[in-house]
Symmetry: C2
Amino acid sequence: LNIQAPKGTRDFYPEDQRIQNYIFEKWKDVCLQCAYTEYEGPMFEHLELYTGKSGEEIVEQLYNFKDKGGRDLALRPEMTPTLARLVNQKGNALRKPCKWFSIPRLFRYERAQKGRLREFFQLNMDIMGSDNIWSEVDLICSIIRMLKSFGLNSEHFVVGISSRRLLKSLLDQRNINSPASVYLALDKKAKIGEEAFLNLLENAGLNEEDRTFFQNFMRSTNLSEVKSFCQSDSSLFALDELNQLFQALEALGHGDYISLDLNIVRGLAYYTGPIFEVFDRAKSMRAIAGGGRYDDLCSTLGGQKMTGVGFGMGDVVLKDLLSENGLLDDLKTPKTDVFVAAFQFDSLQVFSLCEKLRNMGVRTGSSLEPVKFRKQLEMADTLKSRFVLFVDGEKNDGQFYECKDLSCGEQLFLSLDQIMEIINE
Amino acid sequence: LNIQAPKGTRDFYPEDQRIQNYIFEKWKDVCLQCAYTEYEGPMFEHLELYTGKSGEEIVEQLYNFKDKGGRDLALRPEMTPTLARLVNQKGNALRKPCKWFSIPRLFRYERAQKGRLREFFQLNMDIMGSDNIWSEVDLICSIIRMLKSFGLNSEHFVVGISSRRLLKSLLDQRNINSPASVYLALDKKAKIGEEAFLNLLENAGLNEEDRTFFQNFMRSTNLSEVKSFCQSDSSLFALDELNQLFQALEALGHGDYISLDLNIVRGLAYYTGPIFEVFDRAKSMRAIAGGGRYDDLCSTLGGQKMTGVGFGMGDVVLKDLLSENGLLDDLKTPKTDVFVAAFQFDSLQVFSLCEKLRNMGVRTGSSLEPVKFRKQLEMADTLKSRFVLFVDGEKNDGQFYECKDLSCGEQLFLSLDQIMEIINE
């Protein structure tokens, strides 16, 4: 038997888990700072929750299976359908708007590659039940705050903003009825070049005039240029919405972190309003985060009509970005405070003192076995202990113990209370 | 479409997730206090990791499936096989003994009932690579510390201790070659009564003398009574081991929390040494935790021979026990520190102040929309805010703001620094 971890999954040894915990804790801190509340759901759902939202094609990208009771289930590939289910279930009993977050583990049957695994974690923040542009502001402010809390700044990342409402209204304005194929073309434009892009538009049934229209539209770099393309009420409304969003974010001091990016389409997903994606400045990686407003998800899944806006930020690309910028090198992670060592190892004596220190809230380790003194010091080092306390030090008097401060090598003579005080500083 | 959560799973609305977080955080705190380090693994594994350990029968109790590449996978029903895989993979590169913990989400295809769901969380603590009885001491001390940290005491729970090594050596002593069927009988004894128990032993091939032997053995209530049944070196060794364990735990002050309980067998699992289960005193619930020593798991799964000892503690029974004892009534959970409200709602003004407070580390909420003042106060209440700050209070002077302390109803006049200081107290 030589069994490996399944393809596209990860093992988290203590040194890996330390990084995961660091990311999760920062995510949580900022969510709580911004007054979002945490929720969770099952790791798998009825398959129809996903096909109902995204159509049967989605099944190809899922881990789906029948359970022993014949139910069609799928490991969750994203959290938003579960969120919609939870909101639908409570109906009017839920006070809206709600600002909710979750850190689900997600699963997609895709080709594993850099920045993309079959199993990963993703922070989700969503606001349900508020159609005000300040929801977008709130979420984008949270993203910027979060990435800054990891030590990243506007030289590292940018939030690109576009609008599905704008795209849809321009398609309507020109009486184009194949939005899905056009979104696909727009989505691919940056990767495939101008000519292939125009071919895709032609295949989507756009005449030459329409193709030129979208070709020129996509060249816009600011909202005043965009304005010249908007000739319908709905496109002007979508433009105004974007204008408000940019103005608010600039007024809040985030101008350096945002830019208009019409290349952002968010695939074939369910967005209906402003959309955004976060990229590293070099755009050398996959998106760090992405989201937008969705109006129809809850009603599609059998609930009442309810607007929502949210985003997801995966752990894989973020970890790569932090790592490449040297921001994971010296994590302030839980360390052991005290390692109780003995020259002549008496298990009961060692364990009694450990228990006493733990009762005081001190993180305390020791050897489990009567090993040589030198081996005990190695263990203290592995645990990154602040102090080694010598339980049978010659000068110990029952209240004060011989200790060594491993942060500076100093020999000390401390009471347990003194140790606790130093630790709690 | 009216899609529910799959059978045997749970939705965690914010009020439910609050309780989960409370349990997870206490678990983590105590693990770190006791110098265990966290690890994690994939949510699913190759099926053979479980059949290799427990035989083909286990498949009936699993969520197993083929992925789109034809791999036989299973959602993890327990963490120990993953742990063994991780330890095997690193071989000698891993410094032993290691004290590791994890809080995996686990899945079992079983009949859902009180205290048992198809999807649940379980704290796992394990020590790999130390065959010293002080590993058991360390783990049992941690369990007791953990349950006490939730407010439980010796009136609520007891750690029952037995030994698979003792049972096995007594079977050997009497030349009985059907250990599995005997363990099954012993395991069921408490539930089925004396007569059915004796029938099961008879079916397992035990003659009358053997049946009487085990009937009498099971009546022992302390280790000196057990001694009269031990006539082989290995049974005396197993007895001595139990004696040491009880003596150490009593010397450490845990006498009230432990008892000899020969009814504990731990099913057909892989244990080879001392075993233990934690029950509520009334024994009205399923086990709160259970574990023991396993010698052969790593080698069975293709690694070198390595002893391990560990336990699992599920979230479901623990939550029931805490809830029945009123210990979840007033959770000190993350609350919002400040809610920024406005008499005349100016979004930019409100958001600017929110951002400022968050920059100071203050957990800050506000309305996203220009709603009535009264509605804003309701929101502050929902978020359990400590303070409401009136951003456009009449007396505000740019440095001091009109505030209300919701913990006592007092009207105050505070600077942002003063608020931060009060919050950080």
